[in-house]
Symmetry: C2
Subunit: 364 residues, 2 copies
Amino acid sequence: MSSRRDIAAGAGAKGLPAPRHATIRDVSRLANVSRMTVSRALNDPETVRPDTRARVLQAVADLGYVPDRAAGSLASRRSGFIGLVLPTLTNVNFASVAHGLTSALRAKGFQVLIAYSEYRQSEAEAQIRNLLSHRPEAIIVTGEVYSPAARSLLLRADVPVIEIADDPARAIQHAIGVSNHAVGRFVARHLIEKGFTRLGAISSMPQGDLVDHRGGARCNGFEDELRAHGLPTDMIMRTGAAPFSYELGASAISQLLDSHPEVEAVFCVSDLPAVGALMECQRRGISVPRDLSLIGFGDFDIGRVTNPALTTVQVDFLELGRRTGQLVLELLGGADETARMVELGFNLVERGSVGVPRSGPLGS
Amino acid sequence: MSSRRDIAAGAGAKGLPAPRHATIRDVSRLANVSRMTVSRALNDPETVRPDTRARVLQAVADLGYVPDRAAGSLASRRSGFIGLVLPTLTNVNFASVAHGLTSALRAKGFQVLIAYSEYRQSEAEAQIRNLLSHRPEAIIVTGEVYSPAARSLLLRADVPVIEIADDPARAIQHAIGVSNHAVGRFVARHLIEKGFTRLGAISSMPQGDLVDHRGGARCNGFEDELRAHGLPTDMIMRTGAAPFSYELGASAISQLLDSHPEVEAVFCVSDLPAVGALMECQRRGISVPRDLSLIGFGDFDIGRVTNPALTTVQVDFLELGRRTGQLVLELLGGADETARMVELGFNLVERGSVGVPRSGPLGS
DNA sequence: TTGTACGCGTTATCAT
DNA sequence: ATGATAACGCGTACAA
């Protein structure tokens, strides 16, 4: 009956470890019941008599008892964790995914463990390993997992894996999101239908470990569609490292304008570089959309207030997060394990940055 | 020797639970050492002979063993978790805090547990309780914790508590951030020095549970400074519920302009409503800054591309996160427990949305 | 309705 | 340098 804790409490003045958290045992003693009754009163209130339950709850309140989930997980073999690997947190679309996912899951008592890779494959792998050490009940990764080590890690872990925000060529298990390649093709088709023929794009470029797969896929889709129409693809600029920012957008469009002044319309694989490109055009006295059309991706707020406002492709990332959460719930609820593939789709948001084809090259 | 695992594996066809994770015991058997040696090889490599270590590591790799941190936490009494409670994730400044904090901590093996309240006190309390169940080694909350229940929860938890992003009147323990009240006063003083006398502000309003303390504090500081200068404060609009968005900014400025057309300069307690206000002005044909000056807070990207670009007050939230991480490390590293109070300061970013006082009322 | 015994996977402690 | 054993705090299974 005389635990270390008791000793420490008795010898408090000696600077021994401070009294720690109340345990379920402390509560049980105070309420004059067994530990199991406390556990039940908390986790399955119906099964304990109202007055005992009240006593227990009172003791819980008095002691400020908060159950230890690590211990609970160990015993129940359910961690209550859901792992989420994002490229970055400081991108409102990915933050929305996290938000949507969390809101779908927290009511069910799950805790989302958020990790991010800063667009580094090696870091993604490290994060996945770290996540796995917390024994998540499901793990959600953004886009395809390219590193073989990471893939096998996931495979062996024997937890549901959901890949989001892209359409993986070789899905590990489940996938929910949007085809970035299809987005790129759609944008190309859209511009072609508008009559443009001198089409360009700006995208980041894989730099060793650092790669934006989704942006790259959009760029590739764009390129493929140009090819399919027999259009030249030499105005597709891949430059700079992810994340693709304002500054990179500005410098990419600079390079493009310098080398290909004839370009009429440019697909920026994200609104962020699109805004940077727009600013650069203003600096150069190039009028958008009269002289040059620009189209982005992501429907970031910032694109709504530029002048002109940015035409862009929108994907409902909040909903993506929510749907992912629902899928997790299904999967953990004992649904069959057949691979789910959900395509969420996207919308064109036409604003002011796309005009009509010029007759000649820039400056004519 | 015949555990449930063995049985399940043998009877796999019967649909029994799938084979689970490899345990330290599995590794120890494969490497022909005790569990403790495995543990040491992983956590304290120096203390095991190179050849044994190699055998262990090989077994770890072969089995794809990933340690179970819940079990480790239980035994070591260190969770490795750091709790973070934010108002929201989908605000780049708060996301930056999370980012900075994470980057400072993850190298040391800590996992940041991110929770957000959506500006609801009751939710913040629930989140704190939930966080506490994971036995974080430190807990970081945004701004003051106002609910007494939440405060006592934190106090009893006996973990370092750091309040960030404001200067709490009654700090629980440590605090690091910026005085929002001082920001408000500074902005008022700045505008007064520019010669403005008809000053207004727009801010959200506490709606029951829903409250933006930091925005409110900025608004109060602004009001206090006006008072100190004997200026009228009836053009300070508190309206709408947090989070204070574009739409709210637009409607708030509408109300202000309708009721007080004489207003010359308006402090928007965040750039987001400031941008909304700016858009509304454009709709109404009110020229900013000629007819009306606007100043925001937060230095959001969006304020850089509006026309005019937004004058604002900037706080380095990424650095705030990093510093908080360093403080956590100190505190956990056995530094003395004296309360730390760190004021990070702020900068005025002068762009185009603040002009000079008009001679008469709007429209004259 | 309530209680007992055991095990979850790991680390700490002490022994060898 | 390595091993045996006992916690860590809780839930499951079963007994009363």
